[in-house]
Symmetry: C2
Subunit: 192 residues, 2 copies
């Protein structure tokens, strides 16, 4: 039931069976249909979720109505809006299932209580955020210095599953280009 969650946490901190059992009651399993939203912009992200099955994307919508994907989340990923979570301000993000998805949901209230009760989880989350920060910095740097084609190839290299699970329009949005441009880049690649 919570195998995947435990394995994920234990990549960073080891828990006894008792400790883990103390955590699980705060996690609620939620089923999402394709295109169903976990968070809509304007709402407060007073939760965090762990993806047990399926996939989601978080994205903003600009004033022209264009979507910009910030993050994909597959099995074993954590997702939420940290800004909104920390400040209790309305979120600018939307978080939506890309396919039938199951997440383990913890409310902010429960999460803060867990941090108090189980310091290892506190440490776990700190490491989690640090890693996320590092990954984000790398991505920003790539966005500024690496051609779209190379970033596409790199993404496919690191996440070959994305190609089959995620439509091109979303990949294009994640890379910061239009679907048309990515389609052309792809064609160039098949020619080579």
């Amino acid at each position: 039931m919570f195998d995947r969650l435990r394995k994920n946490i234990e990549k960073k901190v080891i828990l006894t069976d008792e400790e883990f059992a103390g955590i699980t009651p705060s996690f609620k399993r939620i089923q999402l249909k394709k295109k169903e939203r976990l968070l809509s912009n304007g709402q407060v992200s007073n939760f965090v979720v762990f993806v047990d099955k399926g996939s989601l994307r978080s994205y903003t919508i600009d004033e022209k109505g264009n979507e910009h994907i910030l993050q994909f989340a597959f099995e074993n990923y954590w997702i939420g809006d940290l800004y909104s979570y920390l400040t209790d301000a309305p979120s600018a993000l939307n978080i939506e299932a890309m396919e039938a998805t199951e997440v383990l949901y913890v409310s902010k209230t429960d999460m803060e209580a867990l941090y108090e009760k189980e310091p290892k989880l506190d440490r776990f989350m700190r490491l989690q955020v640090q890693n996320a920060y590092v990954a984000l910095q790398k991505r920003l740097n790539a966005a500024m210095s690496v051609p779209t084609e190379d970033r596409y190839l790199e993404l496919m290299r690191v996440h070959p599953d994305i190609l089959v699970r995620v439509p091109l329009i979303y990949i294009a949005s994640y890379l910061g280009v239009t679907p048309e441009s990515l389609s052309r880049i792809r064609r160039q690649l098949t020619v080579k």
Copy 2:
């Protein structure tokens, strides 16, 4: 001597005089001349610094030899390479003084000892990283969805001091455009 540091930490956690006195011996004051480097790529960033006076920039150099600025750090900023710090891997970043600068330097060894000794500092750094993450996410999103001109104006609005302290070439690099392009954008703005 450490007034600015204390004020900075106490924006997030309150320390008694004793607690603060327990921390300061780990900080070493370092003077940097203009263009002098705190970190060169290839070195391990086994430290973190607090900027007490002056300013620095962190940047990468791509295979074409172009620089890409990731971060500016003025008075009251913390800077280092978190990735290299966490993993002990050689850094891809350069950190360089933009003017005569004074930083308060803590080695990783000392810092980890301080975390053990003073849990409040642990909490402080966690909040620090969380805020940095949130700011970075916002910047990535803006880079994808907001025109350069608007990002330039926003930067000037939030940091009017940058205009006078930082050369245009660095601002251009931070925004992810060439100096020529930013110069033209600026001209457009004066016409309007």
